[in-house]
Structures are given as structure tokens and as C-alpha cells.
Symmetry: D2
Subunit: 142 residues, 4 copies
């Protein structure tokens, strides 16, 4: 089911020095970590903290990741990460992302990732209702 | 121009402990670094070392990255990374990757990335002939 | 010259998922990055941003790093990093750090690092007066 | 008990591009990971693989880390890491490290780390005899 983009979380933070490479820009492998930070913030903000899913014995395993790099970010810049749900499925969640330069709102990177719910044995499972319910309510899904 | 998959480089190495996360598996943000290792080895092996491209004043900037995660890798396992050129363009290179468990040849992750040639000012440029010539010869491209 | 510990910067942030390892705790190699974040925040806050030192053609190269690990941090916890100058030298700065669990102020990690000022050729140089002056004024050093 | 430095493991590998920072050198937070790679190789080579310690329900938790940075490493250089045991204790191991440029044997970084044996609850425990015995035999310790 497609969820309204209004259900969106924005975070801002400074680029870390260690995230740069010898091209003088943020290394491309850092953006999956920015996206993950976006998901963590999204889950806290919308009442479905990822840490509580883990306490219930489940994880969201990444199955797919797609990134487009438009413009580089640099050390000490303030970066904005927008995270929203593209699709909420019974056994997983698809997220989308935009990374922007906070000062100008210039779009730097876009991405999407697919996550599937697995138990501690790595078997695919339905997202536990107790965890996902607050999000469904916000999204107007019964 | 499409390049024969025969022009392929394989490397093997152990998974590092620091590459694992609290799920007990290699974190998904590590695979772009494995791919990059694949490109480095590919470029050395085929007579077009990436470090020499940089000495000529050019870089290959990532413009797109797509990854599919099939099965997790774990600490201390020996991993095999296969890297080959999907398309060789005048201003860039598209690479493809397979990451396998070396012991069983089980396929763990597949990926592709697009790189574009930029100069030190970040402007898109043709791949310098002096750098790319050995690869073209191997690939049978005039 | 020894600088008053009052000249201290505190930052707080969430532990990132990617920073954990398969022991379920923040990997020990992450704390040097937390320290660096502390230095970045310290330099911004005290009017001597590190990025402006780099624009003047200088860097602070780490020459020594010592860390003691007392207790582990975990995913999604809020962490506090305290950073202060231990010694301000003509050609370098010694920093000290404390990492605490923000909720309880439990001390998790302590550290110190020595930085030396180098130019773009990697040669040791005096810290440029134009950069360090605001810090000296705050510290009451003529 | 002090162990002979002859019980030493050397590994060599290429510096990864992602390990560089905007100073054009390997970021200082990477060396703890090189040291860890040294410990992993040491433990495999001497018949006490770290993964088997973990299977017995124990981990080696880092309690202290000290690093001196003498000279920088750069992308694609071949690096040599020497790892040896400084002290073998009933509840822990102290390791020492040297990182060298393989081409010239120039010493780049030295370090030491202290590890303590903990069980899955994080309690300090004796190193299990079944794991450490092969190492003690090699070291001539009864």
C-alpha cells in the first residue's frame, strides 16, 4: 500500500571529516549510512522505534538499495536527509530518501531501499502488528 | 560499447570484524567498498591503475549504484568479488559485480555502478586515451 | 601552555546502527571518529573552525591517540562527547575527551590525542596566528 | 607472562580508496581496523581462530588502545601489518603492532592494545584453556 509522502522525517547534521575521501568529498559508501540514520529518526519520530522491533526479535534486512549521486557534499557542511515510506507491505517496507545541502536545499543524492522483516533465524516474517500499528494509524491504514 | 564479460577480475579476502553489525552480518554499507576494491584490482590487473588516472588529473565519480542483497556474509569468511565492465563509454565506465562465498560459490550480493570521468574541477571529461588504451586493446576495441 | 578545562565543548548525538559490531556494541574504531566530531564542534564553537584552517593551507595531523574503554555504547543511545584542550602549543594542540551515556552521565570512554600543524607538503609549521587568535583570547593567553 | 616476539604474524594488503580522507592519506581511525585484521590473521595462523573463541561463548573486549602515527599511508600502497603478543594473561592478551610500507619497510604506525576475555553477559572471565592451549604450546608456556 502506498503511503502519503506527508509521513516524512527530516534530520540535519554536519558531515564528518572521516566521511571524506581523497577526492575531497563525502565517499559514496557513506550515503547508505545517512539513509539508515534517516530510517532510525523516522522510526523514533513515528512511534515505531527500530530498537523496539529488535527487542521483539525481528530485524529489517536490506534486500535492495539504489542510489543516484547528483552533487558532492563536503566536510562540515550541514546536510539534510529526508526519509519517507514508499510502500508499506505485510512483510517489509520500502523507503525513499533525498539528501540535500541544508544551506541551499540543493539536491545532492536520491535513493531508495527495500527492507524485509526477518526473525532471529533470518526467516522472512510479517511485520509484528504491535510494532507497526502506530505507523498504520498515522498513515490512515486500517 | 559492451565489453566481453571475459574481461573480469576476481579477488578474495577475509571479512573484517569491523565490517559486521549487531545483526551478526556484514553491514550493507560495506559492499560498495568491496565493489571499489574490485574496481581497484581490475584496474591494476588490466594495466589501467586507478592511481595513474588520478595522477593524470582525472577521477571516476560515481553517479549511480544499485545493489541486491541475497544472502549475508559473516566475520572471517573468505569472500570472492567478481568485477567486470558492463559498458565502456567515452566519458565513463559501467561496472558490474558479484560477491560470493568463496567456499561454496554461493552468490551473496550483486551490483552495478556507473562512473563518470571528471577533472579536478569536477567537470565531465573524456577518459584520457593514454589511460584507457591498454583496456581497449584487451577488449578488442579500436 | 595548559588551558583551562572550562574551555570545553559538549555535543550529543545518537549512536548509528552501522557503528555497531557483532558483539552488539559500538565498535572500538568508532571512538576516534566521535573524538574528531568533538574537535570539529569545539573548533566551530570557539571561533576557530577547522575548515578555515584548511582554507589557510594547513591541517592538524594526528601524531598520537590513546583510548581507554570502560563500558560499551549501544545502538540508538544518546551519547555525549566532551572535548577540551589539554595543551596549546606553538605547533600543535593536545585534546582530551570523555564519552558518556547522556541519560545517566555514565563514563564510557576516555581519550587523548595529539595534533601537529602541517602545511600542504606535510611539513610541521606554527599554528597560523590568524586562526588560533580567537582561541587564545578566550583562554586568556597573550 | 611475556611472549617471545618471534610469535609474530605479518599480513600485507592494499590500502582501500574508502580509507583515505580529504588530506589524501589513510584516515587515522582506519589503523585500529588494520590492527584488528592483524589479530584475526594472528589467531588463524597460530591455531586459535577468534571465530572459535566466539563459538565457545567468549569475546575479547578492547580495554585500551594506543597509537603513534609516524608517516602517512596512501591509496593503493601495499601495507604490511606485524602483530605479536606482548603479554599473555589469564584473563586477557596484550598485542603490539607495526604498520609498514611494504615496498620500503618504512615504519608508518605503531600501536598496542589490551584485550580482556568476557562472556556473553560482558563479565570478565579466564581465557578458555581449550582455545588458548595451542598458543601456549607454541610459546613454550606450560
Amino acid at each position: 500500500m502506498t503511503v502519503d509522502r506527508a509521513l516524512l522525517t527530516e534530520i540535519t547534521f554536519h558531515v564528518r571529516f572521516a566521511e571524506t575521501d581523497q577526492m575531497g568529498i563525502v565517499h559514496h559508501s557513506v550515503y547508505p549510512i545517512y539513509f539508515e540514520e534517516g530510517r532510525s529518526a523516522f522510526s523514533r519520530e513515528h512511534g515505531v522505534p527500530y530498537s523496539s522491533l529488535e527487542q521483539m526479535g525481528y530485524s529489517l534486512a536490506l534486500s535492495e538499495l539504489n542510489i543516484r549521486y547528483l552533487s558532492p557534499a563536503r566536510y562540515d557542511e550541514v546536510i539534510k536527509v529526508r526519509t519517507w515510506i514508499d510502500r508499506l507491505l505485510s512483510r517489509g517496507i520500502d523507503f525513499q530518501y533525498e539528501v540535500l545541502r541544508a544551506a541551499s536545499d540543493e539536491l545532492l543524492v536520491t535513493g531508495q531501499s527495500k527492507q524485509i522483516c526477518v526473525n532471529r533465524q533470518g526467516q522472512v516474517r510479517r511485520l509484528p502488528e504491535a510494532w507497526i500499528a502506530p505507523l498504520k494509524r498515522k498513515a490512515g491504514i486500517e
